[in-house]
């Protein structure tokens, strides 16, 4: 359940230099601009880049250290390549079985049928890869990698060619799977949405180096800010559930938030992701509106963002909450540093549920 990587590699002008360690299971999103070395990093960890020097350890097992190197096929990993790369000479079914067959029976922790079901591959089984659509190929590639019950899963933009509905089906399964199998996952993606929904940690890369590595709470504001969508993460705890309204009551410090969700165990720790654009500011706490969550707040800072908008940093129960509002509103409401106000929160994404297998519950909720 641990992954320790310290690798360097030079190729032309490009130089990869990556050292990081992951000590819990969970999904680490690898995020960064095109060409920053995400694919190269994954390949180097898998042992596919012969020029890579350094160490790779998984669960205390040494995959690479100096001149000692486990060959790729001895590393219990699953790799989903950026292009699906199916075996053109095998049917879909044989592609799926390829790795599965090579696994000693006692190491098979995922049933082939389960994968086929979940990824909706049943109707494709007898087909040949060259007749598949882009998304179909990618689903087969994911299934093929999962079928080896890997100890480390490396996925290079596996969902890029999938439609939203498919994604919505596959994402929770991936989460459940990695939690169940307790395997670390490195997941390359360009979508902050995917990061927010899926990741426990983020590895932020730039020009071959790792510029940030940390829990998603810390890094999401940075990466979503870069993507033009600043957001904040609040820590909270489940207080109770209002079954009649389908609302979960969450305590953030002394405050209470109501978030659409199924029941969760009392006391469970949660992260609440709140996009800055879904926070508005009012002066009067008592106005009747459909916005359930109205939190007393204090203005920490007001940062101009564009010609028309500002980013307001609010303090809410000792934590920071970002709100994006227009400059005109700032003026009309007379907002300034230190002023008390009410933060109206229109949507919350529940993240990183620490207990309970029901990661599927984690979802965006409009309150």
């Amino acid at each position: 359940m641990s992954l320790k990587v310290d690798l360097t590699l030079s190729r032309g002008e490009f130089r990869l230099q990556a050292a990081f360690a992951v000590n819990e299971p969970g999904i680490t999103a690898v995020f960064g601009p095109s060409g920053c070395g995400k694919t190269t990093l994954l390949r180097a960890i898998a042992g596919l880049e012969r020029a890579a020097r350094g160490t790779v350890r998984v669960d205390g097992e040494i995959w690479q250290d100096g001149d000692r190197r486990q060959p790729v096929h001895r590393r219990a990993l699953g790799f989903v390549f950026q292009e699906a790369s199916l075996f053109e000479h095998l049917s879909v079914h044989d592609n799926l079985r390829y790795g599965w067959c090579r696994l000693p029976a006692q190491e098979r922790r995922i049933e082939l049928e389960e994968i086929i079901d979940l990824l909706g591959l049943e109707p494709l089984l007898q087909r040949h890869p060259r007749g598949l659509s882009g998304g179909e190929r990618q689903r087969v590639a994911i299934g093929r990698a999962l079928a080896t019950s890997p100890r480390l899963l490396l996925m290079d933009e596996p969902l890029a060619a999938l439609d939203a509905a498919r994604k919505a089906e596959i994402l929770p399964y991936l989460e459940r799977l990695h939690r169940h199998l307790k395997m670390p996952v490195l997941h390359v993606t360009h979508s902050t949405d995917e990061v927010a929904r899926l990741a426990d940690r983020v590895l932020l890369m730039e020009q071959g180096g790792i510029v940030h590595h940390g829990p998603v709470e810390e890094l999401l504001p940075i990466i979503s800010g870069e993507a033009g969508e600043p957001a904040s993460l609040l820590r909270g705890r489940v207080v109770g559930h209002h079954a009649e309204d389908g609302l979960l009551e969450i305590a953030v410090g002394p405050l209470r938030l109501l978030v659409p969700s199924g029941p969760l165990p009392k006391g469970a720790e949660l992260r609440l992701r709140i996009p800055a654009r879904d926070v508005s500011i009012a002066l009067d706490a008592e106005a009747a509106s459909s916005i359930l969550n109205r939190l007393p707040a204090r203005v920490r800072a007001i940062e101009p963002e564009s010609d028309a908008t500002c980013l307001v940093r609010l303090e809410v129960a000792g934590q920071e909450l970002l709100a994006r509002i227009t400059r005109r509103s700032v003026r009309e409401l007379g907002l300034s540093k230190g002023k008390a106000a009410v933060a109206q929160v229109m949507s919350v994404v529940l993240e990183g549920i620490q207990e309970g297998e029901s990661a599927a519950k984690r979802s965006r909720c409009d309150c």
Partner: protein, 224 residues
């Protein structure tokens, strides 16, 4: 068809079969190595493999005869080790044919292996396939067309080759007389009728064998 011709036919098929199998066994690893090796001297090795082609078969046969003869460098060693006589034997003909047809097997295989590219093998490695396993389960099937060509060229060339085989085998009826030599003899003896008959037969037979090979290679599905 005379009895001698029939015998020659059997020996020919036997020789071509055995030679083709050995060619594939030797040529496959060689081609694999050539397709993946790097280095300045690689073209030199590639050129070397094609060299047997350059000399006329009778001359190659002559040199092979010199080498394989009981007093020759190779023949002496083999006989010292208790090996069989190579000159004027089936074994000798096989050796000659293998050397002479090697480039026809190595080159197509090499190209086929190269055309696969590294990706399918990388994928196989991440799916727990070891090097030999990868080779058998991925490289071989993907190089199917190359194997077909190698087999066709190797087989056909061995059937038609006659200079080397004549020299090493000695054209002994029922032992080392192959069909190509028999036809040649008929022509030389101005026995055109027999030559025509035998040529036609050989062509027809070979056509069928080649056809079967092509069919077999195709049935695996075309990559297109």
């Amino acid at each position: 068809m005379s009895e001698a011709d029939l015998q020659a036919l059997l020996i020919t098929l036997q020789l071509a079969g055995v030679t083709t199998v050995i060619l594939l066994l030797i040529g496959t690893p060689l081609a694999w190595w050539l397709a993946h090796a790097r280095g300045r001297w690689l073209p030199a090795v590639e050129a070397l493999v094609s060299l047997p082609l350059i000399l006329p078969p009778t001359v190659v046969g002559f040199y092979l005869l010199v080498a394989l003869a009981p007093q020759g460098p190779v023949g002496r060693v083999v006989e010292a080790l208790g090996g069989p006589r190579l000159a004027f034997s089936f074994a000798g003909m096989v050796i000659g044919s293998v050397i002479y047809s090697l480039p026809f097997v190595v080159q197509p295989l090499q190209n086929a292996f190269r055309a696969i590219g590294p990706r399918p093998l990388e994928v196989a490695a991440t799916l727990r396939a070891g090097p030999v396993d990868r080779f058998l389960s991925v490289a071989l099937p993907l190089a199917r067309h190359g194997f077909l060509t190698a087999t066709v060229l190797g087989f056909a060339h061995t059937v038609g080759e006659f200079g080397v085989v004549l020299m090493i085998g000695g054209n002994i009826p029922g032992e080392t007389q192959v069909l190509s030599i028999a036809i040649y003899d008929h022509v030389e003896a101005l026995d055109y009728a027999s030559a025509h008959k035998l040529s036609a037969g050989l062509l027809l037979l070979s056509f069928l064998v080649l056809l079967l090979l092509q069919r077999a290679g195709r049935s695996g599905g075309t990559r297109s």
